[in-house]
Symmetry: C2
């Protein structure tokens, strides 16, 4: 369930979103860096390649991509929003020690509650926090 760049590009065209050069680069970055980067990370990395890039453009692009549903934004206990390509059926685990965010498989689709019978659910999120294996072994 990891959509290819070509698929995403087509998906955008179908939604009448113009793929400008800068937007292409942001999208490309998200496809190649599935590490839940922050705006700051995306911006400073792309700046090496596009010295005239504006941070505002990154914000704008991410907003557009998020609105179309191609990209998912999330804030896990941080003051920084993180972004990733929207793939289904996975939760996020954030390590409280190294702050890395891991994906893990979870069957969210079949995960519902009777309390929400009359609710229209548009978006499901699962995130855990704790210590990742790497940090656990480093402590010993």
């Amino acid at each position: 369930m990891t959509p290819s760049f070509a698929e995403l590009k087509q998906n955008l065209k179908a939604k009448n979103i113009n793929l400008s050069f800068q937007r292409l680069k942001v999208l490309e970055y998200l496809v190649n860096n599935r590490c839940h980067p922050s705006v700051e990370q995306i911006f400073s990395d792309l700046l090496k390649e596009l010295p005239t890039l504006s941070k505002t453009t990154v914000y704008n692009t991410l907003r557009i991509l998020t609105e179309t549903g191609l990209v998912r934004s999330m804030t896990i206990d941080d003051n920084e929003t993180r972004y990733d390509i929207n793939t289904k059926n996975h939760g996020h685990f954030k390590c409280n020690s190294c702050h890395t965010i891991y994906d893990f498989y979870v069957d969210i689709d079949n995960f519902c509650s009777d309390d929400l019978k009359n609710f229209k659910i548009e978006n499901k999120n699962v995130y855990f926090m704790g210590i990742c294996p790497r940090c656990l072994t480093n402590k010993e």
Copy 2:
């Protein structure tokens, strides 16, 4: 699973947290207002009762209460952190129309993934977004 005020107070003493007057009031507020209030809401409501209250105190208190695990902080797609008394086994649903946050029952404890075999999980969160029944009917 809604702890009483007396229980919470005892819980705090056990953790060597001094219950100052202001902290008491913040805790009391959270017990009486289980609507996931923001700092701004807590502060401005308590200000009526405690005109000398400082917003910094509210922030400090919430940090302490969160660290002890009595209070849970969450940011659902907002730029404002919300707080509630930490009760187990429930997820949050945020209405995209009226922005109300609902609790719903969910069996989080039995909700794990093989991918996280070697992770130490300290905290589990489930939140959904969509439209609540009230807003759904109002639209018609």
